[in-house]
Amino acid sequence: MSGHEYIPKSKVGKWFNDRLPLLTLANHLTDYPTPKNLNYWWTFGGILTFCLITQIVTGLVLAMHYIAHADMAFDSVEHIMRDVNYGWLIRYIHANGASMFFLAVYIHIFRSLFYGSYKSPREIIWIIGIIIYLLMMAAAFMGYVLPWGQMSFWGATVITNLFSAIPLVGEGIVTWLWGGYSVDNPTLTRFFTLHYLIPFLILGLVVLHIWALHVPGNNNPVGIDIKKPSKDTVPFHPYIVIKDGFALLMFMIVFAFFVFYTPNILGHADNYIEADPLVTPAHIVPEWYLLPFYAILRSVPDKLLGVVAMLSAILILAALPWLDTSKVRSAVFRPLYRQFYWILVADVLILGYVGAMPAEGLYLLIARVATAYYFLHFLVILPVLGLKEKTVPVPLSITEPILGGSPNLATAKNKESLNN
């Protein structure tokens, strides 16, 4: 992939590498030429890998003590919290780890939106990323069901009932998902199985995500194609390793704050009440990371259309490389897009806020306006903006703005011929 032949120094290494070129792969990963202007928003890929490994390791350990049965699940979670050595720590890391995972993935996604990382030739990386994101939501939802508290039970009921909106076959699908006529023991055991499986599917997709990334190489804050290797790149090790490592440390401080000081702030108190199929909690609220989509679901007064709108809000992201018609990647050189970008960020935050509020009165009105704007951004603003916007000239290379002085007519002309 890196285009140069690697020969291990030791005899044993050479013998092994001729049979399985693992050392060539390791060499590719250390020497991998990386744009030298990557900022800290680029460190979230590494942070996300850390999150995935953390969830797999803590989850594996929790599964040694957890009992997936409707009569015992709730008690077994309390058993983990009270009796198992360091059980409280492991469970709090796992529970808060899910939130940290989503926090990091949202920053990672919005990084891509700002710097146009989803554009040609990186569409496949982006689409694999969206599939990973969907699987993360499925894993998080099913994991939340396992403690078998009130929010677990009613969250599972509401989410599985989304499928009943499908005409004709909807009810049959829901019964099939439940393995009964309501959320019950069969539902719990299959959710546990799938919750255990999905992280490994994600791990496989992460390998593809990184593989696809290493074909064109990283995008960068300037958003231009760069020669690799050149004076615009640095080797991944040690430069990016150190930078990623430092960012990871900062991230772990935030993580540890939640785990040790406010381990339950991101959860819901009702989930410490055992599941009761006869009583629905007064306010059913999903975990914070699903709130924007929940707001979109509730803002549509029709059941089927609400579900369609919610799913479209996620799936529309997969079409983003084709909806954004601008050839310029980075928002740094797109003065109008930059403003619309921040409006979108605000729009999603507002959706998240109203998603946590009761769906009535002013909140409902705000949710409807914000939902409409969300789709407007992707379906109208982005396609039109790419054709109409007057972009700022992009530099020829990463070093040019620093070493090449102020842009002059000659380089500008040169640039245009390169762009065409």
Partner: protein
């Protein structure tokens, strides 16, 4: 392709694919169907409930197939209110006479038809039920009047075994 005649080999390919597809289908189906309700779940299909202690204006909730069933002994006012509604005013038109054969007793699944929450008794704009999850209002006959739920709360199959016993399912 158009000028090519169908040969014995084409027939063999098609036959092989067809048999292969049947084989794959026959193998996959048990893997899918195992997730459907099993025999032990289906065996719990009916429940008998003693309603002698339920006074007018009271509701009891019983569990049937893992779902709550509301059994409400309605007051004369509630019956009158439910029967006076015009069908044109209903999102899902059903007469109260059809929903409650014995007008005093309303037996229905206590499951909101929106996303499956349990509505609260004696709440909402129509003196019936109100779902706290997404704000659906039901009237004294359990019919949807306002909110996102698409249909009325479902009436399960039930019968009076004797004056004081209802058999659901």
């Amino acid at each position: 392709m158009s000028e090519k005649k169908t040969k014995r080999r084409d027939f063999l390919f098609t036959a092989t694919y067809a048999v292969g597809a049947v084989g794959v289908g026959a193998t996959v189906w048990p893997m899918i169907d195992q997730m459907n309700p099993d025999a032990s779940v289906k065996a719990l299909a009916s429940t008998e409930v003693d309603v002698s202690a339920v006074n007018p204006g009271k509701t009891i909730t019983v569990l049937w197939r893992g779902k709550p069933v509301f059994i409400r002994r309605r007051t004369q006012d509630e019956i009158a209110e439910a029967r006076s509604v015009k069908l044109d005013d209903l999102k899902h038109p059903e007469t109260d006479e059809d929903r409650a054969k014995n007008p005093e007793w309303l037996v229905m699944l206590g499951v909101c038809t929106h996303l499956g929450c349990v509505p609260l008794d004696q709440k909402g704009d129509y003196n019936g039920w109100f779902c706290p999850c997404h704000g659906s209002h039901y009237d004294t006959s359990g019919r949807i009047r306002k909110g996102p739920a698409p249909t009325n709360m479902e009436i399960p199959k039930y019968e009076f075994v004797d004056a004081n016993t209802i058999k659901i399912g």
